[in-house]
Amino acid sequence: MGEHEPILVEGLVKVYGKTRAVDGLDLVVAKGSVVAVLGPNGAGKTTLIRILATLAKPTGGRAMVAGYDVASHPAQVRRNIGIAGQSESIDEYLTGRQNLVMVGELSRLPRSEAKLRAATLLGRFELNDAADRPTKTYSGGMRRKLDLAASMITQPEVLFLDEPTTGLDPRARMGMWQLIRELGDAGTTILLTTQYLDEADQLAHNIAVVDSGKVIAWGSPDQLKTQVGGAVLEVTLPATADTEVAAALLRGAISKSVTVDQRRHKLTLPTTEETGLVTKVIRALDAGDIPVDDVTVRRPALDDVFMTLTGHGAETDKEAAA
């Protein structure tokens, strides 16, 4: 196997009737990295994954997975990938174990190897107790876990996970995160979509924010947060303190751009490169005899990034006008 980018997408387009589900999307994913695709409903995340997993054909552009073009060499692509789609692909009549062994055998593992891998994965996903029951009797979360296990049966080089933790309980979600980290560390390249921003924050080396079929922002979680704005310092005063007086003090001593939240007794000011900002703030307020309850440095959350980047202009304007 030569050197290649595990995932390389250039100007990818997918048109369904009048919908441009994917509309000129570019993406390069490095080996062993975990990339989260974020975007509002209908952004084209699932369509992207289905194209990369050879389940849908691109209308235009190019997509290479594991060094092979998905359009011209789908068979080679399939040998190197695993996919857990947005809805599960499991056989209702078969037991969990039979499902995994079947997928393993159809992926050309020897039967003994498929059985071994199935047992390992059933344990890993805590499905041991249900392993030999028909999946008809599984709960939603159990089906989800089994589908994820099926995507990993061959230890593929590239793994596509479309909303992998949707429907999982917090404990199972933690387990899945742990597994994704381990797989990433072991060299598996993972492209996942998620609606949970903390998940992207926790797992992803890089995030692609997708909207209307395009990548509109790309970078590490920290880079994206900085792009939206730096950290802010939040000072909480006791209810008895005069926030306006305090704000005036700080404006004089530190920065003109202090904002006041009267109701919650909070002052907010941007952080700067200079050191000792927190000390200065406390000294200034102390000198004015104003007590301080709490000081926090709040970094923008990924939620802020998401809302800022994908907030649709039209809706915001309507709200502003109302």
Partner: protein
Amino acid sequence: MSLAPAAQLQHTPGERGLSRILWFLRDVLVLTRRSLIHVIRDPAQLADVTIQPIMFVVLFTFVFGSAIRLPGGGNYHEYVVAGIFGITMAGAAPGVAVGLANDIQSGIIDRFRSLPMSRGAVLAGRLTADLMTAVLGLIVVVAVGVAVGWRVHTNPQDVLAGFALALLFNYAMSWAGAAAGLWLHNPESAQAMAFVVFFPMIFVSNAFVALQNMPIWLRVVAEWNPVSTVTASCRELFGNPNPSAAVQVWPLQHPELATIICALALLAVFVPISIRLYRREDLT
């Protein structure tokens, strides 16, 4: 066991020839095993080849049998058992259609299509399982038939030829069912279509009553219905009463040849259609 991506899968990038055929056969085996598990978990799927023919035999020999007279005489029990044999073999399409529609709806087809398995194995596995179902049906009809007094009066080659012909027609009908299931991709619609298309096909034929007793417009349909030629062939090859031999239309004058032509025509039409439908990306 390590989590590292493995390159130990058994394949070479550009496999062809013998190894490709062997992989295909293995995939078909794996999927046939899957279909057998389905049948074990849900034996009702076999009703078409077990309960239904048994009920038909009981109904038509004991309940209606005494009221039906064959033109030119002849043993009605022998006549109708051969007919039930024919329709049981011809009735493969609904099962295949519903099974494939279920596979599509459950999403398992998506899983198969993302795996490095042989392209044709999903359809071939389904059809292999169906052929096995048909063999079960054959055994069931022969067993209950013998129990109610059905006998063959020809040599073993002819009887085997009758079985083979019926299975060939069964196989061709399964492909028609596959196309229907892939096209409708909804088990309820597949079931409904089965009722609308196959139910009349079975009853507007010579399976239960002689064509001579039908009103003329129904009779023309029945004369050209391939189910009639299948049952006529079986009756001829088993040496059972076959009043259709007196009907002066080409298919009933040459029922074996007509059945073979019809089966080949069905295959020529529905094999490519099924494969094309299966490869269609918006299948799911």
